[in-house]
């Protein structure tokens, strides 16, 4: 009896004391990081995660520059040259179209893209804690980023969208919910190209509804519309592309700069920029500058421009003056500021989209006639106004106006052209699903792209 009294009086208080210590001891919150539970519980934190999504979008491996570089290398044939064949051979594989499924640059693009997607999916999952007044733009920005990333994933990792057919070729896995646990559900296979495009269009349509017209350096309604125009154009849906491009142009929020050279190497976006990736000094760097510019500007000069490119410009074209000689190598002057913005969407592209679609669809023209839109861009380059245009003129104008901004390979695929011996549907112009992803995901095991 005595013993049991002692045991009760001694043991119970001790146990009680320990129970109260339990949380303090066993569930300490980290200090250098924030636990998942906390990160998505307040308005301010969810907005921070959204900003984090932008910082991931801004990684050098993707929109910090290399997604444009990769596109240019894939399109490269006779117009550029990659000089570091041995020491930095992985980008060189894009140039030679001999990409290995183990290529780390391919993996980085895939990985960094999905990191953005996971971050925005987390934001979208926690909209209910965002202040109601801010919910629209938070959701809009998240949807915009997701659409932007999926559009590039599907363009790089899948065979091209072919208008008028059932696009049931493999696209990329559509992950639309945040990943919180590694369980069987995460092992997803690839959706079809059609499914991916339709998700992109849905997201962008919603984003355009939700986003404000003015939003600093962040996504705007204009950015969503402009990207939508680009997506429709890629699909060959000229009606909608024309409409979306017109929305952007007629919004009056953007204007062409008088001097072409002023658009580039700017630390802040200009009136012509619809959407950029902003590079913070001094922590970050513009990866396009690293590859394209000389050491004088902080680059490594991996990419040299060949005469084959310069020859496409008509004489007197001020855009040809962007190129400069550096120790015997010709370089592109669009990328000379290591802290400059990466220009992702510019207004002149919208003029050219509207012009192309209007021309293809014929009158009644939306917004302006093809030749007027063409001349907006053409004349700004210091060239005489054209009296009339045909499709080839517009396509050439795109090449000149948007050179080395990551457009060419996608235009080739869209226009069913070819690069040297590689036709638009050649599997060598499509990135492989990274071997690492196939190794680690049974659902992808039989879904590698042809040719790998």
């Amino acid at each position: 009896m005595k013993k049991s009294i002692i045991l009760t009086t001694v043991v119970l208080p001790v146990m009680a004391m320990l129970m109260t210590a339990c949380d303090w001891l066993l569930e300490p919150e980290p200090s250098q990081s924030v636990s998942e539970e906390l990160a998505l519980t307040t308005d301010a934190n969810v907005k921070s995660v959204l900003n984090g999504a932008y910082s991931l979008f801004n990684e050098p491996g993707i929109y910090g520059g290399n997604i444009l570089r990769n596109a240019e290398l894939l399109a490269g044939n006779g117009e550029i040259k990659w000089v570091n064949e041995e020491t930095y051979y992985e980008p060189y594989e894009f140039f030679t179209k001999t990409i290995s499924a183990e290529n780390q640059e391919v993996y980085i693009q895939w990985r960094d893209s999905y990191r953005v997607i996971n971050a925005v999916n987390n934001v979208l999952s926690a909209l209910d804690v965002v202040k109601p007044a801010d919910r629209t733009w938070v959701e809009g920005e998240a949807l915009f980023l997701r659409a932007l990333v999926y559009f590039d994933l599907v363009r790089f990792f899948a065979l091209p969208y072919e208008a008028g057919t059932i696009n049931n070729q493999y696209g990329v896995p559509l992950i639309l919910k945040p990943v919180r646990l590694i369980n069987d559900e995460i092992y997803k296979g690839r959706n079809t190209v059609e499914e991916v495009y339709s998700q992109i269009i849905t997201d962008l349509g919603d984003a355009a509804e939700l986003l404000p017209d003015e939003n600093g350096i962040f996504a705007t309604r204009g950015a969503a519309m402009a990207l939508l125009a680009r997506v429709f154009l890629q699909k060959g849906d000229y009606q909608n592309a024309r409409y979306a491009a017109n929305e952007v142009i007629s919004s009056g929020k953007y204007s062409l700069l008088p001097a072409y050279a002023d658009i580039f190497n700017r630390n802040e976006p200009t009136k012509e920029d619809i959407f950029v990736a902003k590079i913070a000094y001094p922590r970050e760097y513009n990866a396009m500058t690293v590859s394209f510019s000389s050491s004088a500007y902080g680059g490594y000069g991996f990419i040299e421009i060949l005469d084959g490119h310069i020859n496409i410009y008509p004489s007197g074209d001020k855009r040809a003056e962007m190129f400069y000689m550096d120790n015997g190598a010709l370089r592109c002057g669009k990328w000379n500021n290591i802290y400059g913005c990466v220009n992702l969407i510019r207004l002149s592209e919208m003029f050219l989209i509207r012009a192309e679609c209007n021309l293809r669809l014929g009158p009644p023209y939306v917004g302006a006639s093809p030749v007027d839109d063409y001349n907006e861009v053409h004349v700004r380059a210091g060239l005489p106004a054209a009296g009339s245009v045909i499709l080839d003129d517009i396509i050439l104008e795109r090449r000149c106006e948007l050179a080395f901004e990551g457009h060419r390979i996608h235009d080739i695929k869209r226009l069913k052209q070819s690069i040297g011996v590689w036709g638009y549907k050649n599997p060598k112009l499509v990135f492989p699903v990274p071997a690492r992803e196939i190794r680690n995901n049974p659902a992808l095991q039989s879904q590698q792209n042809a040719g790998y």
Binding site: S31, S33, A39
Partner: protein, 1038 residues
Amino acid sequence: MNHIGADFMKKLIAVIIILSGAVLMLDAQQKTVTGKVFCSGTRQPLAGAEVEIKGTGNTVKTDEGGFYSLNVQEGEVLIFRCSGRRSREITVGTSDVVNAELDIDYAGLENDIETGYGLRRKSKITGTITKIEGSALRNIPVTTVDIALQGRAPGLFIGQVNGKVAAMSRIMIRGTSSVYATSQPLFIIDGIPISAESVNFSGAPVNPFTTVITSDIESVEILRDASSAAIYGARGANGVIIINTRKGYSGDTRIDFTVRSGFSEPSRLREFMNADEYVTYLREAAKNGDLMFDRYFGYEPGTITFCRDEIENRLKTYSGWAAVINNSGRFLRSEVSTDWQDLAFKKGRIWSADLSARGGNEKLRYSAGSSYLRNDGILVSNGIEKMSARMRIDNKVSRLIDLGFSLSINRAGINQVSPDNDYSSPLQLVAQAPITPPRDENDELSSFPVTSYYNALLDVEYTSRKITEYRSLANGYINLNIMEGLSWKNEVGFDLYSNKENARYGEKTMEGLGRSGYGFANQGQNQNITGRSILLYNSRINDIVLNSLLGAEFQHTSVETMYTEGERFASDALKTIASAGWISGGSSTLANYGFLAGFFRVNADKDGKYLLSLSGRVEGSSRFGKNNKCGFFPGISAGWIITEEKFMSAVSFLSFLKVKAGYGIAGNSGFGNYWHLGLYNSDNYDDVQGLVPGQVANPDLKWESLKEINGGIEFGFIKDRISGEIVIYRRKATDILLEEEIPSMTGYQSMIKNSGAIQNKGFEFGLNTINKTGSFEWKTGLIFSFNRNEVLSLGRNNLLDFGGENYMNVAMTGYPIGSFYGAEYAGVDYNTGDALWYINEKDVNGEIINPGKTTSNFKSANYVILGNPNPEYTGAITNTLSYRGFELVFTFQGVAGNKIHLAGDRWMASNGFWVDNQLKSQLRSWKTKGDITDVPQARLLWENGNQSRSSRYLSDGSYLKLRDVALSYTVPSGIISKLNIRNLQLFVQGRNLLTITRYEGWDPEVSADFMVNNIFSGIDFYSAPQPRTVIFGITLGF
């Protein structure tokens, strides 16, 4: 009938009366027994021996003459006990005299051993625990206590990573059982689990035991098997090392004072080329290099002079003012031949002193001490100065309450040098050309480009890297002796381990160059609070003695760091960051973790021969995921003391025999905090703060689990003059943490999962013999152990290889962890001088299809397992010889079965690939067709066998060291007692006096300090050898 009946009744009553009378008489036959207790060997009487009537607690002590007297009854059992003797039980017979001769307890069977939260007599222990007496460690000339334990327990491997002062050590009990978690045992000092991770930021990592006392240690207990360590639950898997400091005692105050002084020097050196050899060798390498270019481009031999021109230019540059040049400007030779290796070392002085006082009375006992140590080390600009003070008070307040406090404060100031892979690490000096004078004409240190590499001596003169470490250990306890057999023990402990660094690199040093000097200040702090409450209950059920305990324990630890750095100092004399022209960076970090546990143990002892121990611990930790917040860690072991059986009494030569077996499950949670949580890290966009998902949650993350079967025998022959133990074990660690790749479309690339398995099995053997007794006494202690490690599973992988081109330790299933994996060197092609490797191509079954076939193309050689960095055999033998006041103790300690990767030899034994000075062995290089040698032709700029991942650079790491030698003379008390001196001892002690090894590097006790973990070990990369130390000392006791 009636008559008869009455008669019968009378008789019956008479019988009953007589019988009961007899009973009464028996009952009254309480008699006084006297006797003498004496030593069985010397027949000397034993004073102060205890004589107890078994089962009653009645105890008397013997007088000066060994006599006792006691009231007992016939048939009762007397237990005789005396310190240092085996106890003995004698049944009282008819005689009034019961003499007892007690054997010397050579095997220490009567000693109490700390088993974790409680003591148990050694003879009754059923786990595998080694006790090391503090007296054996007292004068060993080492800076950290862990190193003093080398070669003192079977199954315990301790290797210091290099010969820098306060260098880290690798400590393992029964091998490595982890990949990413620690394999270091749990260290407990006076009940406090101490922080045992290095916290410094700059230079080589500092051994965390630097701030743990080395003197005043009462005992060290090593819990080797999981059935013993299971009571430490989630942290017991790697074994437990319990250090207890000396307590006070009841009696006259004793003061002991020891001073020591000595010196140390490198225990081994390597032989490098002198200036002439260097110049000749390099010219030959350059000539051969040019010929290779000719062949490559298809030119006439002799066309290309690129290598030769380059080398002539460099020789001229490197010899600086010492160049001797002929009329045509051609370099002839240098006037100097610098021994750079010699410049990296110095003769280190050592001074140390300890002062301690102990005493007290029945109520209050105390023990106090302070120590000082200064060790200059053997490397230039290295050195340490340590101070410590400690105090311990135990107070018996009343019959009900005991309480006590202890406090120790330790400070170590270290002049730290760089890690082994840093150009500024002193031993990297050996790469310099021997033709280079260390100083220029103005007596300034030579530097680049006169020196071929950064001159590490610049760091000696222009860098100060002071690390000051502090450790305060405090604990307090209160025991309530609630009733007979039941007590309640409450204890709190506090361990504050902090670190302060001020590093300042002058403008000429590598770190300070080009930015007018560089400096930083760093502070780190590990603060650790523990508390426990334990109920101890001793009881007896029939003839089973039970010792039980029930307890709860918590630990909370916070780890903080802060640092700031700056550059652009106006002068090298400005020492702190406040004077920096630009404060270039700063940071602070904080992490917390905690453990909470409840545990019990029951020790049962039937008849003193059947033993059982059963324990269990439930433990939770902040490091575990929410689905596995708590683990249960049981331990069970049983023993049978066969010599206590009646039938064994005839076997007189066998004095002790116990068989024991146990099984236990212990955990390892020595891994990162927050690994189980889903985490967001900060990352900015456009300088606006943001949060990005950084780590995916793993709510299943838990401890690594170690299951072990352990069994063995303990024996004693010839009255324990020969005693020892043999133990075998198999420990299998499962749920080993591994980083596993996950599809990156999740937004994450990998997660830490419990998925691997590692097994260790082996046996351990310990033997103590008393070879000679009498005035000349000779004792021998021998330990030997064998351990085989095998990686059983690496989750979804078979191989973890992070070695790149330079290192070759890997984890591969089926092989010991850390095995060397590289190309198998096949020597030199005697026709061409090319290095050759075995191709070792394997078929699908893993069989080599072309044994013996070689290639000169390194890339065609397939990697194979080439050796194990961890010794399979470890052992030590200690002999103690004493005669009158003299005592000589010497210990040989050795390891075998391991290899060491001479990773630095790809530069210093590269047969002239580059301008690094070469070892003399490279003079053996292939010269002409037909030369049979193991060193390929010298070819400047052409890789010819100097690829690091090759068995060419593996060397046998087995060694036998004369680890400790101590010669002492204790002055007879008759002489000194007149001077009121209780004890006077003179001694000389040596360490690492002799190393027997085939190892080609400096010292086979090595693991480059920048790369030590479970996989990477046994790498020698410009790593300093252990010092050879001799100290002289005197101990005075009052």
